[in-house]
């Protein structure tokens, strides 16, 4: 036989358990990556631009002589830089992303395909409306779906995010009060569990904020609300389901008390995904509510694209909606832009143009691919998944509100960690080591050491079981006194635990060169 005596050994060799820091900062096949400005790419350029066929200096002495200060990476260098950075990030395309109050759910690829159709993707806001009839029709149809799902008569499509939608809603409320001779109302009521954006928005509009107390079972305290409603109150801002993942079961009474006091009811619609298709906010007495298209209607979050926060409005607020909006006449669709008859009472505008077209297309594709019955199931599955997690973890962790079901998110406090020396933060960091992005922690503020888990409807039971298994193992380790596993975590992430205090006290918000780099070679 032929015998290869020089190649790779065929028998397994003993491996060492010794774990040592790497020599280069790399981990596995992940390389340590510097900032793009630190890649020493000043003196080169990634593109070869032909010499211009005109005099070199046509600028009458205005030719720049100082460095531009841009790194000149080649295409493969630039691609690798960003792919490496993305490997350090977590994404919904990698795994469950259980951030409570964020609704990190799958972004269907059909949405992306539709958004890239040239008739939607390659148009400009200043094109003649006769050339964008299809796009305007889509905005009109999406508006129709939003009004139908919420039971509200009007919708402002232009706000660019949830908080922008809050601003739009409160500006409409302010305009309505001023028109009704109630401009002296200067107070907005928010529950203690409110998203931070609610009081921030109210303050930005010029209102002072008063907190509404919470009951022991995590809902708005009706007696406290009634006591604080008065002739000075312009609006209340209530999230439903609220940030504790609980349905405000007194919502009808909340609306009645509010209206009786002459105030408007702004509903923070961030958690609309838990009730879409099941509950119409218009039936509850809501006057204005923003809808985060990137939550309920699956458009991408953050780096995946811009946000969109349309605001549905009651009949009382509809006349004050911001321009522009789409109308349908016999000769086609058009945008109402000017403060003429149709928009005589508009409080102004929220954005220069019609809103986030790309997000509108994605949200509409999501609605049409699910249908009305599918959207109802979105809410049902989101709630079912959260309750499954709550039920499977309640014997090892402490639910903040153990009585009754939750809505779309399961909220735990840190009582079950008492005596272990381990905090919510430590537990969250150890989850990273186990391959799971942590839940939202320390929010809502009304729950001690809060852990807010929102699985969303797009996770399968199999994936939920893997997540639950990991949390049960970690909870067991915490109770068994394995403090080191938690205190130093994460051990296996690209970066170890960061000094959040130093980052907050001495933030470095801008990269600055140590020396002025030389001008890139021509």
């Amino acid at each position: 036989m032929t015998m290869n005596t020089v190649g790779r050994p065929t028998a397994p060799v003993p491996t060492s358990d010794y774990i040592h820091p790497t020599l280069t900062g790399g981990r596995g096949l992940l390389q340590d990556e510097a900032l793009i400005f630190e890649l020493n790419a000043w003196a080169k350029t990634g593109v070869d631009i032909p010499d211009a066929d005109r005099p070199a200096d046509d600028l009458a002495g205005l030719l720049r002589t100082t460095p531009v200060g841009l790194p000149g990476l080649s295409e493969p260098e630039a691609v690798r830089h960003y792919v490496r950075l993305s490997q350090k990030n977590h994404a919904i395309d990698l795994a469950l992303y259980p951030l409570g109050s964020c609704t990190m759910k799958h972004n269907p690829r059909l949405n992306e395909k539709m958004a890239r159709l040239a008739g939607f993707a390659d148009i400009h806001p200043l094109q003649p409306v006769s050339t964008v009839q299809g796009a305007l029709e889509l905005i009109d149809r999406l508006a129709h779906w939003l009004k139908t799902l919420t039971g509200m008569p009007a919708v402002a499509m232009t706000p660019k995010a949830g908080a922008h939608g809050e601003l739009c809603g409160l500006l409409a409320i302010r305009a309505a009060h001023e028109a009704g001779g109630q401009g002296h109302r200067k107070t907005v009521l928010c529950p203690t569990s409110a998203h931070g954006t609610n009081p921030a928005t109210a303050a930005f509009v010029g209102y002072s904020v008063v907190e509404i107390a919470q009951t022991d079972d995590g809902r708005v305290d009706l007696a406290d609300l009634a006591a604080k409603l008065g002739p000075d109150v312009a609006a209340i801002m209530v999230t439903n389901p609220n940030t504790c993942g609980l349905f405000e079961r007194d919502i009808i009474e909340i609306a009645r008390l509010t209206h009786d006091a002459g105030a408007y009811f702004y509903c923070d619609g961030a958690n609309f995904n838990a009730i879409v298709g099941r509950v119409r906010p218009g039936d509850l007495g809501v006057d204005a509510m923003h809808i985060n298209l990137h939550k309920t209607f699956s458009t991408p979050h953050g780096g995946g694209g811009p946000g969109a926060g349309p605001v549905v409005l009651s009949a009382a607020l509809a006349p004050f909606a911001p321009a522009p909006w789409v109308v349908h006449h016999a000769d086609g669709f058009k945008l109402v832009e000017e403060a003429a008859d149709e928009a005589a009472h508009a409080f102004g505008r929220m954005s220069a143009f019609h809103g986030q077209m790309g997000m509108f297309v994605r949200a509409y594709a999501y609605m049409r691919s699910h249908g009305a019955d599918g959207l109802r199931q979105v809410a049902e599955d989101a709630v079912l998944n959260a309750n499954y997690i709550k039920a499977r973890l309640s014997d090892v962790m402490s639910p903040a509100f153990p009585d009754g079901p939750c809505m779309h998110e399961a909220l735990f406090d840190d009582e079950w960690l008492d005596g272990t020396g381990i905090t919510t933060l430590d537990f969250a960091k150890a989850m990273i080591d186990e391959g799971f992005h942590p839940m939202t922690m320390y929010f809502p503020l009304v729950v001690h050491g809060a852990m807010l888990i929102e699985p969303t409807e797009t996770e399968s039971k199999q994936e939920l079981d893997r997540f639950i298994h990991a949390l049960r193992l970690l909870a067991g380790a915490a109770k068994a006194g394995e403090v080191d596993r938690f205190k130093g975590a994460p051990f296996h992430a690209p970066l170890r635990r960061l000094d959040e205090t130093l980052a907050a006290r001495k933030p470095r918000l801008r990269w600055r060169p140590e020396t002025i780099p030389p001008l890139a070679a021509e």
């Binding site: 320390y442 503020l445 959040e500 205090t501 907050a504 006290r505």
Partner: protein, 121 residues
């Protein structure tokens, strides 16, 4: 030194009250990363928003424990917010207020009463 249920302390010297947040409050906040002290000359009513303290955990309003006019503010906290953690009831003071009604101070809790109050939380 006198204390409020919102965890501010007051130390009265003549008609000048030095005010800050208690050691308990500083510990509950965690590492303080930012402090906004009131403007000198500002007139405050008891219970008004007086200052803002921000930690890695949360941003909180600090209320004026007494009514009066701000005559001095601890500007050093801008550069060294950690003083609030290191010495909350000494170098971590927020402001000095020329009090308009000294009886307000008398009505606040003494240390023993405040300690008892903390036991109820």
């Amino acid at each position: 030194m006198r204390f409020t249920k919102d965890h501010e302390w007051v130390a009265l010297d003549g008609d000048i009250a030095t005010v800050g947040i208690t050691a308990y409050a500083a510990e509950q906040l965690g590492d303080v990363v930012f402090v906004e002290v009131p403007d000198i000359g500002k007139t405050l009513k008891q219970g008004d928003d007086m200052a803002v303290v921000e930690s890695v955990k949360a941003a909180s309003d600090v209320y004026a424990p007494v009514s009066g006019e701000v005559v001095e503010a601890n500007a050093a906290l801008g550069e060294a917010p950690d003083t609030v953690n290191a010495a909350p009831e000494a170098g971590g003071w927020f402001a000095k207020i020329k009090v308009s009604d000294p009886s307000q101070v008398e009505a606040l809790m003494d240390r023993a009463a405040y300690e008892t109050f903390l036991q109820t939380l």
